[in-house]
């Protein structure tokens, strides 16, 4: 069990109920260092390299994280992320669907929201959501969020599920009241945002704290990274061949999944298969102002920790990575239903890739070398509301 900075001292009240006294961390999370601005800044071995903005490659710098936050804001965000108090029924926290043991996703084809019980694939009785729950590793680098890219910051994104009736089913009033009634949160918000505890808790502060915590979820120490930084024993022969398929121009995966983050902020119509019995998901194409050229386009997801986030695609159409590779290896546009007007992204293979079985196997090996959860934050054992924290899925 990890003990970061937070020390949760459990006090047994007179009536037997638990109350807790929480202290926010005064130092930055793993892989972050405090700068003179008092905020935590990412430190990564990719800072050793120089390249022009936007360019990918093996030894190139990372894009900047979109936001920087104080240790207290990050730690407060961690408590909020795991606290069901924000949800309408007080039963679901962010972590119920973005579970730390499932790479901050839920292992389901599509998410399960309001009134749901439990976590992960075993979650039941809740509203079935239309899209797959994305994992959160490296989400702080993104300039577009949600599958259709409709939010442009984590702050904006974080309140989306919170106030969606079929997800956490909360309201601004509920959030404000639930937090205002909690003396611990009043104190912690005042500390994190350096203001008087008498001031009301603002929704913007909740969003900032959640974004701060999510920004701390950084995964850059996979075996691939060791290879990138110069250890050519870090990948097996098959994985190296897979890396060559991945970056080469028959596979051309790096054109959208740009290393070293293996993601991009572009929307791409790749011709995903429909979900049986449902209308074809037009993705970004139906966001106002409706743009038919974006029909069926979705945000390019990261491939970091991709082995941990099955099933895949915006509605979990593919159960395994092998299915995904088969999809890309099949002819361009093969899965688009007749009549769906989709302009495929121009980087989708112009001819069928026709990768032979060995290449496909190597590619799969490589994708499994992008796993790293070494900077996992501590899951709190208790949260200020006293409500139960998510169960862990593997000890």
């Amino acid at each position: 069990m990890r003990l970061l900075a937070l020390t949760a001292v459990l006090l047994l009240g007179a009536n037997g109920a638990h109350a807790a006294s929480f202290a926010l961390a005064d130092h930055c999370p793993p892989s972050f260092d405090m700068a003179e601005d008092g905020r935590c800044h990412l430190v990564s071995l990719y800072q050793m390299y120089t390249a022009a903005p936007g360019q990918g490659g093996l030894r190139v710098p990372l894009p900047e994280l979109k936001g920087s936050y104080t240790p207290q804001q990050i730690d407060l965000g961690r408590l909020l992320f795991f606290d069901p108090v924000l949800s309408g029924d007080g039963k679901s926290s962010c972590a119920h669907c973005h579970h730390p043991d499932l790479a901050y996703a839920d292992g389901r084809t599509t998410g399960m929201g309001a009134s749901g019980e439990g976590v992960g694939p075993a979650r039941r009785q809740g509203d079935v959501l239309p899209r797959n729950t994305p994992g959160l590793w490296n989400v702080g680098f993104l300039g577009r969020l949600f599958w259709d890219g409709r939010a442009t910051s984590l702050e904006e994104q974080s309140v989306g599920p919170l106030f969606a009736a079929n997800e956490m089913a909360s309201t601004p009033d509920h959030v404000r009241q639930a937090l205002a009634m909690n003396p611990e949160y009043r104190r912690l918000f005042a500390q994190a945002f350096q203001r008087s505890a008498n001031q009301p808790i603002a929704l913007e502060e909740v969003a900032t704290a959640l974004a701060a915590f999510e920004t701390s979820l950084v995964s850059l120490n996979s075996r691939f990274d060791r290879y990138a930084h110069g250890d050519d024993r870090a990948l097996s022969d098959s994985e190296v061949r897979g890396w060559n398929v991945f970056r080469g121009f028959v596979g051309r995966c790096t054109q959208c999944h740009v290393p070293p983050l293996f993601q991009s902020d572009d929307l791409a119509a790749i011709g995903a298969p429909p979900v049986p019995g449902q209308p074809y998901d037009q993705g970004a194409g139906v966001l106002p102002p409706a743009d038919p050229a974006l029909n069926g386009a979705f945000k390019v997801p990261t491939l970091r920790n991709i082995a941990l986030t099955a099933p895949y695609f915006q509605a979990g159409q593919f159960a395994q990575l092998a299915d995904v590779v088969d999809f890309y290896n099949a002819p361009r546009g093969h899965a688009v239903p007749p009549g769906a007007k989709v302009e495929l992204h121009w980087h989708i293979h112009m001819r069928q890739a026709e990768l032979p079985p060995q290449d496909v196997a190597d590619l799969l090996s490589f994708l499994n070398a992008l796993t790293d959860t070494s900077m996992s934050p501590q899951v709190p054992t208790a949260v200020p509301s006293g409500l139960p924290v998510i169960p862990r899925l593997h000890p």
């Binding site: 793993p30 800072q47 970056r247 121009f249 051309r252």
Partner: protein
Amino acid sequence: MRGSKPMTASALALATAWISLAASQALGATLTVKAGESIQAAVKRALPGDRIEVEPGLYKETVFIDKDGIELSGIVRGGQWPVLDGENKLNDGVLVSGHGVTIERLWVKRYKGNGIMTQGSNNYRIAYNVVEGPCFYAIFPQFGKNGLVTHNVAFGSEDAAIYVGMSDNVDVVHNQTYASIIGIESENSHDILIENNYVHDNVVGIATTMLPALPVKSSDRIIIRNNIVARNNMKNTAPPGAITAGAPPGLGILVLGTDHTTVEGNLIRDNDGVGVMVSETNFLVTTPDDRMDPFPDSTQVLRNVFLNNGSNPQGTLRDLLDIAGVERGVDVLATGKGRDHCIADRLALTTLGTRNFADCAPGTTSAAVASMQTAKPVVATPFTADQKGRLTYLAVCTGCHTYNSKLVGPPMVVIKALYGKDEQRLADYIAKPVRKRPDYPEMPSQDYLPEDIRLAVARYILSELSH
């Protein structure tokens, strides 16, 4: 609480560049690859600064270079070349991510993907190669700064024969490209010089493009100068999904959405569509991208020689000319909303759509730009060992250790007390940890970190770390 100051850009710039030094000083060994041996095996053995000489012979492999400062150099003897043959089965011929790499005098043929590709490499040189299709791009430097592509012959590409993608400061000079969809293309790149090339018998001769839905969102400062651009009238055989499928044959030079593009001193002849076309991105590709500007600005069409262009415009060019009621193609055709263009020699040319082009000021020339390469090699790793020690501690070790409390591993105050000033002993432990504490898991070996970095981390922990 105050932390240590993060590394600034200026601090980066001050430090040393061991990679480019290693490459330029040629301190390394020479490894020889004989016919029947594996080039990759030599790459695996090579160290930065080494030169690999490849004897004439047939090599059926993909060669990849993920280390810096390697010179891969073919030996041509009595007209016999070292030939890399993908047999239409292998994906790519040569893949490079290392900096300061040279690829020269190889005959690369029949790879399904690219013949020679660099990705994220700086300070590269691709020279004196022959790259033969069918392939996707024959020569494709992508994502990198400061490169030279010179004296190559490239033909038979299903897209551009020489394709400079999302790159900065590249010279493409003295090459011959033909029998490809596009002879030479610069895509979403900056500071590119395309000069003294012979570009003939392609669908499109030379194109500079601003393409959507790519991570680099601008395309600027490109000089197309002193090239021979002739007979680019090949039938377009690009597959229907390709954006080049819409490229009409007969285009000598295409300026598509790029800014500050200069076309000067070229001999542009016998291209059956149009000599020079200045257009916006959606002439070829309509994918929307709200983060880029699709309109070309500040094109300069300076003095060039136009001979016999426009005798048989086809496809979308034909459509455009029909709308204007013009039968024959023109020397210079402009469409779209670009601004601040100029044209020289207007009266000597046939033009269409150039009404918003100013006359270039007399004497305007790009001659002052002899090269777009950077004056000095790009510094690839501007960190001292001590700085790397700190980076590595924060980027790797903090996943399990904090300064003064137990995380996964023991707190660093305990380690500091245990090792005192013995950096070497701590560095050795980092490489080969053994279980010492029953209440902690065994530390995984960190021997993937180079020896000097392990020592630097140990020094950082024992001498610097204080909070």
